[in-house]
């Protein structure tokens, strides 16, 4: 598990780095970005994992969201992995932007030909944290997760499937109920097969219904002018209804005028970093 540093830039007193390593789960070279705040020079810091949305690499978040200042102030190590295996030479992996490369959906595929490489769920919940814990000054007991869109979906399912593993979770415009939206149907049928009952294991709204109830505090921001919201890709209302029923605490903020872009993320990223810092630094 040799790490290869691809870049390192000083940012708000800390360092924004990008590494490459050979992933065991994904059986390919994977890049990830990691921000080490100034505090990491002297001690272990909590780790906050960011999962990006469709088509993204590790670069989008670190270049566009402007999270560094808040992460620096709160002393959080922020890890942003890529969104899918790359260069696996699977037929059709690059055919569409919402499936295959850049669209791993943070699940472990069970269908050929994807099941060998497309194990993003295991990658982000197991392999990557182990790699990070082993190589960086982070406190393994304190980690949280958040993401955008498909990454928001990833953050929610990772949390809901692992009660207690993450101290907190938040999401920007997450895909809340993938089994019911076009993106989810396409991806889940591709990666998991046609048995829709298996899909529920990767559906946040369904996972909430069976969530055993470890304390959670979910923060979700959603732009009101998000085209994918109106396209029915995100379906947050279903998730909120489920949470209301199951009394899972959610603060869902509909932000007037904001779309699905990183401009929207950049606007509220500080709130989300603080949300996680509250639980990670408590």
């Amino acid at each position: 598990m040799a790490l290869k540093q691809l870049s390192s830039n000083k940012c708000f007193g800390g360092l924004q780095k990008v590494f490459e390593h050979d992933s065991v789960e994904l059986k390919c070279k994977m890049k990830f970005a990691i921000y080490l705040p100034p505090k990491a020079e002297t001690g272990k810091c909590p780790a906050l994992y960011w999962l990006s949305g469709l088509t993204c690499t590790e670069q989008n978040f670190i270049t566009k969201s402007g999270y560094h200042q808040a992460a620096s102030e709160h002393g959080l190590v922020v890890i942003a992995p890529d969104t899918s295996p790359r260069g696996c030479n699977i037929k059709g992996e690059d055919e569409s932007w919402d499936f295959g490369t850049g669209a791993g959906f943070y699940l472990d595929a069970t269908e050929d030909p994807w099941k060998t490489n497309y194990r993003m769920y295991s990658y982000v919940t197991e392999e990557l944290p182990q790699l990070i814990n082993a190589n960086f000054p982070v406190d393994p007991q304190r980690m949280s997760i958040f993401g955008h869109s498909m990454g928001g979906h990833g953050a929610l399912i990772c949390t809901l499937k692992n009660p207690g593993k993450y101290k907190s979770v938040s999401a920007f415009a997450p895909i809340c109920n993938p089994v019911l939206c076009p993106w989810g149907k396409k991806a889940f049928s591709g990666y998991l097969g046609t048995d829709e009952s298996k899909w529920k294991a990767y559906d946040a709204t369904h996972l909430v219904k069976s969530y055993p109830g470890s304390q959670l505090d979910i923060l979700i921001d959603q732009g009101k002018d998000d085209q994918f919201l109106s396209d029915g890709q995100l379906l947050p209302d279903n998730f909120i209804a489920a949470c209301t029923e199951k009394k899972i605490p959610v603060v869902f903020r509909s932000q007037e005028g904001y779309d699905h872009s990183y401009y929207f993320i950049a606007t509220f990223i500080t709130d989300h970093i603080r949300h996680h810092a509250k639980y990670l630094n408590a």
């Binding site: 304390q215 505090d217 923060l219 009101k224 909120i240 949470c243 209301t244 009394k247 899972i248 605490p249 959610v250 603060v251 869902f252 903020r253 509909s254 932000q255 007037e256 603080r274 949300h275 810092a277 509250k278 630094n281 408590a282």
Partner: protein, 750 residues
Amino acid sequence: MEEEAGEAPGLGRPAAPKDFHFYHVDLYDSEDRLQIFPEGNTRMRREVVQAEMTNEPRAAVKEKAPRDLEEEVDELVHLYGLEDDHELGDAFVDESMPRIEVSEYPPYGMMGREAAREQRDWRLSGEEANAEDLGLGGWGSADQCQDLREAYRYTHGRASEEYECYVIPEEEDEDEAADVFCVTCKTPVRALEVSDEHKEHEVTPLHKALESAKDEIHKNMYKLEKQIIEMENFASHLEEVFITVEENFGRQEQNFESHYNEILETLAQKYEEKIQALGEKKKEKLEALYGQLVSCGENLDTCKELMETIEEMCHEEKVDFIKDAVAMADRLGKFLKTKTDVEISTQPDFDDQTLDFSDVEQLMDSLNTIPAPSAPVINPQAPNSATGSSVRVCWSLYSDDTVESYQLSYRPVRDSSPEKDQAEFTMTIKETYCSVTNLVPNTQYEFWVTARNRAGLSPASERAVYMTAPSPPTIKSREIRSCEEAALICWESGNLNPVDSYTVELSQAEAPGASGVTESVVGIPTCECLVQLQPRQSYIIYVRALNVGGPSARSQPATVHTTGSYFHLNEHTCHPWLTISEDGLTVVRSERRAPASELLSSDTRFTRCVAVMGNLIPVRGRHYWEVEVDECLDYTVGVAFEDVPKQEDLGANHLSWCMRHTFASSRHKYEFLHNKTTPDIRITVSPKKIGILLDYENSKLSFFNVGLSQHLYTFSCQLHQFVHPCFSLEKPGCLKIHNGISMPKHVTFY
């Protein structure tokens, strides 16, 4: 020591060589040296002296003793082959006498002079000691004893010390040192001797006896040192008394001199007056007598002339005689008719004049007394000398006045005092000060004082106005507001008249490190004070009122906890449909409603939305409080400026920020309202307790679900003025406010 010896000449004690006076006992205090006196010699000497003392009058003994002792010394000198050592001989003579005196008074010596007795006993066998006691029993009269005791007193101390001195030269003669000490005989003995003479006696090693003897001597020295110090103190005290006596008598001498001079002058004047009056009287009398004498002579002349004329007539012719005789008869008849005054007009003795010495008598009388004192000077009121019910009045007088007592009078000063008959109080005081009690707080009193002695009463002093301290204020405990950094204390003056200022005293309660430290905030002009405090402490607060007279007593204490922010609901803002609980922290809206027509629009009282405002301390910082709500209740909580329009809903203007919950058709709606707008926020779990964080520094107002530590919303608001918490109930129900609680950690992230 030398002086004492000098004062006892009766002992006939030869002057001791000075060299011997101050040898310290310690230097020579080994008992074995004493042992060098041959026992027989000691006994013999004692017998001689005792014989003389019992057979002869005491005075004789005293004269003879030295002589006898000289003989003894000669004997000793002879015994030791030291005839040439005259110094030694002198020393013997010097010391023998006192030593004998010591020996004769064992009872005296036993009274706290144990050491002396012990020393003596070393030289005397038990037998001799008994003989001594007996000797004393049959010894002279009581005053003899007394005299001798006195003599003893002079010489005793030195006897024991100097006794040691004269043995020094013998040191080298020691051949066989004594090595044990016979306690019974109080003598050092050689171990060999123990077998025979002392075999039944208690014997201790010599060094132990030595140590105990040393201890004894040290104790005595300590006593002496103490006595010296005491005597020195006494002497300096005597000096002071000496000076005082001189001064006092000097003053009295002057007093007498001036009085006697006055009397003498008066008498001289009287003498002059009397002499002059006497001379005048004499002159008058003499003149009168002289006048009488003259007229008497004249009469005599006339008579003689008449006689002569008549005789001449008898020798004349008959005719002439008849003629003349007729004329003569007429003339004679006339003359005889005039009375001859032979009464003495003036008596030779002078009139009995009474001498008036009354004024002199008065002067004589006043000779022993003193003049009446002059008016005392009353001092102005000393700062902080008054209490609420008393003032301490001080005055002084001219130093040479003698005063037996003062009369202090006072009366309250009233601005509206047309009636001069204000009650006056007078008291008699010995000192030049008086604490006048039972006065009315915060009131001015006029004081004046007169001094009195046997000669009479002085004029009254000037009048001085003193003021009693105010009554203690009353802290309005219910209106105390606090936060982590400060508290706002309000109080009632407790005084009808204005006071000068107030002082707030605060001390940390149950602070082990800083117990007893009291801080004061002084010079507060109003009945309100914002005091800076340390966070998360308990303070006990007192207030005092101050005026020129001083501070009042402390008010009743109030306790302030600087944990979180603490406020009460302001009843003046309360919508009539709301009731506030006794503790001021629960708002209830009951089902029953008063008709809306009753409500008049008001600047202070909410008239439209059924709300009430809390009184938050006006401190820019962070304030946190919580509100317990019912999940199904429609409520609004938040903050508003004091001048928020009371006839508008909270959040309906730019002067209020609030969170509103409405529950309709089993849906919870949460709005975060400011200026009628709210963000679109959905909350999946209804809070049962809402935390509200007001942060002036960051211009933020945040709401939390306390149970979940969940952040709900944060307003960014420009708070130019101070805001107050607001609570509104849109439906019947109640809101319970929790304040004075520390800020949970999770809220510090917002």
